[in-house]
């Protein structure tokens, strides 16, 4: 929308008027100076990933990444501010420096990594694109969707995968494209489209928001791989490392059995050298990131380890009840894997 173009305009202004010579200061110093991390999140309120809870506070799996970074930097997970963004606005907001981290269920792709001046720091959720349709249509497979009208959000990998998949399967479809996820949700709910497509995790979340969730079914096909993760601006390696290792700390903590509840106890009592290195009682890993030695302790105290954050937000402890699947640890049959702290 033109009246919502201000984010793009801000980038334009920054690119046109900013003096070419002035290189941006280190993000860590800027964040410390202003006293909080500015984190870009999903504006549509994707329950389980990024949505305001009953108390009006942002919560969710993507939000935990923002809080983990704040905890690593300040030792205080509340020192974070959120900027709600649509799919169209997200990368521009990061490029223009409006946000420090983007944690908005965004797919890591090569073109985004190489052409947008941003860099993905990891994968917090391995996802794939799926379809949802009304049960009353009697559709059991996405291949039955020939000729269907399909609601989709613009500016997403979803929009591209959709066209490719229907082409590859020799099927026809009518795209109904919206800029905002809420608009696409509402159009699907009102019956404008026969089916809705986005990442499978999003389908589970959006289904719960529909007027009658039980009337809709998520179809079995997963037509793409969508590694979702946080991203930062290129050119500031230290900041990228902090965001990267905040997530790795969560994954390593789960693997080592460090939890939100026992982290203090483990810090003082554990004899395991791996745990000692992670929690900062051995070596100076925190210092090498430009942080305090107990940076990982702060992360785990704030949001728990990866498994705890997953179960609380999107897993069995949540209304979404998503199975770990690919997001199980590598040692338990999944592909979540973090390099060692060494």
């Amino acid at each position: 929308m033109v009246y919502r173009k201000w984010k793009t305009a801000a980038l334009g202004a920054a690119m046109i008027l900013g003096t070419a010579a002035a290189s941006s200061a280190a993000t860590l110093d800027e964040v410390k100076a202003k006293g909080f991390v500015q984190c870009g999140v999903n504006a549509a309120g994707l329950q389980g990933f990024a949505a305001p809870n009953d108390k009006g506070e942002w919560s969710g799996f993507d939000i935990d990444i923002c809080r983990a970074v704040a905890a690593a930097v300040f030792g205080d997970a509340t020192k974070v501010k959120f900027t709600p963004l649509t799919a169209k606005e997200r990368f521009t907001a990061l490029q223009s420096g409006e946000i420090d981290v983007l944690s908005r269920n965004s797919t890591w792709t090569m073109s985004r990594d190489t052409q947008l001046g941003i860099v993905f720091t990891g994968v917090n959720y391995y996802d794939g694109q799926g379809f949802m349709a009304k049960k009353s249509l009697g559709v059991s497979s996405a291949k039955d969707l020939n000729g269907a009208s399909i609601c989709v959000q613009s500016g997403t990998t979803t929009e591209l995968n959709l066209a490719d998949w229907f082409r590859a399967n020799n099927l026809q479809f009518n795209p109904v494209v919206f800029e905002k996820q809420e608009e696409a949700d509402a159009a699907y709910d009102s019956g404008r489209c026969d089916a809705y497509t986005t990442d499978a995790s999003g389908l589970y979340s959006i289904r719960l928001k529909l007027a009658n969730p039980d009337e809709h079914v998520v179809l079995p096909e997963i037509i793409s791989k969508e590694p979702l993760g946080p991203s930062v601006r290129q050119g500031d390696d230290q900041w990228a490392l902090i965001v990267k290792w905040a997530l790795f700390a969560m994954v390593n903590a789960e693997e080592l059995g460090v939890t939100q509840a026992n982290v203090e106890e483990q810090k003082t009592g554990s004899a395991n050298p791996e745990v000692k290195r992670l929690l900062g009682t051995d070596g100076d890993f925190g210092k090498s990131l430009g942080l305090t030695p107990d940076w990982a302790v702060n992360v785990i105290k704030a949001v728990g380890n990866y498994g705890e954050s997953f179960e609380r937000n999107v897993g069995q402890g949540s209304p979404l009840k998503i199975a770990r699947g690919l997001n199980e640890l590598w040692s338990k049959g999944g592909i979540q894997y973090a390099p060692p702290v060494r």
């Binding site: 793009t8 799919a87 073109s111 009208s149 613009s154 591209l160 066209a163 494209v177």
Partner: protein, 402 residues
């Protein structure tokens, strides 16, 4: 020029002969300052472009216009020209541009018709008609267009039943939440004859009207050239159509699978945008028309009556030409507004230039600066062309005072 003529009277004028003080020559000084201004502007423009390129490079953001020839990969709901996902972003840009032009062109025509009707109705001596027109104008002129678009889209069109329970209309048409589906005219062999007949009829009508005018100027005898021209334009193509063996057939929509197959589909996104733009802009045009008619003093009507002109002729020959002089400039502004407002299409999911090019293409390629620059330039060009045409038309119909 006045300054220069006055120059000899100034005390400095005595030194001019020596040639040392060209600085004080207003003409030379004027030229120097204008050259400086142009050079300054050019430098500023260069600095803006250069700085943008350097900044984008420094931030590691890919730039340039090469993306226009790469594969777009996304589908578009409404395609006035052939387009597949294998076509380029440049082609997608064209599709978006055409979608914008389609909705703007149809919107301008419908808004003009509706606006003139409502504007004249508001002046009607019929109390009820005038009040209905007033309520229409005051309602739609005072509600933001975006809200009206959302109203048409969400409150009117999206509550329609699904395609299987759609409202069946005559001729196999159907109105559902998938849009209005009407039979599609399929053009068969021999249609060229009809097109030719239309062209011949138009040329003949034009010639007839010129001849009638010339004769009236010379002899004072009038000829109903308008009526005769209309008859020509209607009858000749109809005759040709029948002669060619009725080459237009209708393809009726059929319910197949999820949606209708065949027929011409006016999607709800298109209808919501067209309805919103038309109804909103028509309320402004109605006021422009009313102002134009009221601007012609009543004495003109009375004078025409006194000369023995009938009311219809008074309207056509006396009032309308004078009213048009007042109507056309603000009408141009309304046309420009309608075209630019069509960019709100993105709120209702209509694939216009902003939704397609400044939406999907911008996001897929990440070329924000380039895409927004092209999009802004396109709207500027469309608006300038519209304004140029309307200025030309205004000059044609302007009252020539004698």
């Amino acid at each position: 020029m006045t300054l220069r003529d006055a120059a000899p009277s100034t005390p400095l004028s005595g030194q001019r002969g020596s040639g040392s003080s060209w600085l004080y020559d207003p003409t030379i000084r004027g030229i120097v300052f204008q050259v400086l201004l142009v050079v300054g502007l050019a430098l500023f423009g260069w600095w803006v472009v250069h700085n943008t390129i350097v900044n984008l490079r420094a931030a590691n953001i890919a730039s340039g216009f090469d993306f226009l020839s790469t594969r777009a990969g996304y589908d578009i709901a409404q395609k006035p020209i052939d387009y597949t996902i294998d076509d380029t972003h440049g082609r997608a840009f064209l599709v978006g541009l055409l979608n914008t032009l389609v909705v703007a062109a149809i919107g301008v025509v419908l808004a003009t018709v509706l606006g003139f009707l409502v504007g004249i109705a508001r002046l009607s001596p019929n109390w009820l008609l005038a009040k209905v027109a007033s309520v229409y104008v005051e309602t739609f002129r005072n509600i933001p267009l975006l809200l009206q678009l959302l109203f048409w889209y969400k409150a009117v069109l999206s509550v329609l039943p699904g395609p299987r329970q759609g409202l069946a209309l005559p001729m196999g048409s159907n109105l559902s939440n998938r849009g209005l589906i009407i039979p599609r005219p399929v053009i068969g062999e021999g249609f060229e004859l009809v097109v030719g007949a239309v062209a011949v009829a138009l040329a003949a009508a034009f010639g007839l009207s010129r001849w009638a005018r010339a004769r009236q100027m010379a002899t004072g005898q009038s000829f109903p050239s308008g009526l005769a021209g209309l008859a020509l334009v209607v009858l000749l193509p109809t005759f040709a159509y029948v002669l060619a063996g009725m080459p237009i057939t209708l393809e009726y929509p059929e319910l197949k699978g999820f949606n209708f197959a065949g027929g011409l589909v006016l999607k709800p996104e298109f209808m919501a945008l067209l309805l919103g733009l038309t109804i909103y802009t028509a309320s402004f045009i109605a006021e422009v028309v009313r102002a134009g008619v009221l601007a012609v003093s009543h004495g003109q009507t009375e004078a025409a009556y006194a000369l023995g002109l009938r009311p219809s002729r008074t309207l056509r020959l006396v009032i309308v030409p004078q009213a048009m002089r007042v109507i056309i400039p603000p009408l141009t502004s309304q046309y420009l507004n309608l075209t630019k407002n069509s960019s709100l299409a993105v709120a209702v999911g209509y694939p216009d230039l902003v939704a397609v090019f400044a939406g999907s293409t911008l996001n897929i390629t990440g070329r924000a600066v380039e895409v927004i620059f092209i999009t802004m330039s396109v709207y500027l060009v469309i608006s300038l062309l519209t304004a140029a045409f309307m200025n030309w038309f205004n000059a044609r119909v302007a009252l020539i005072e004698r």
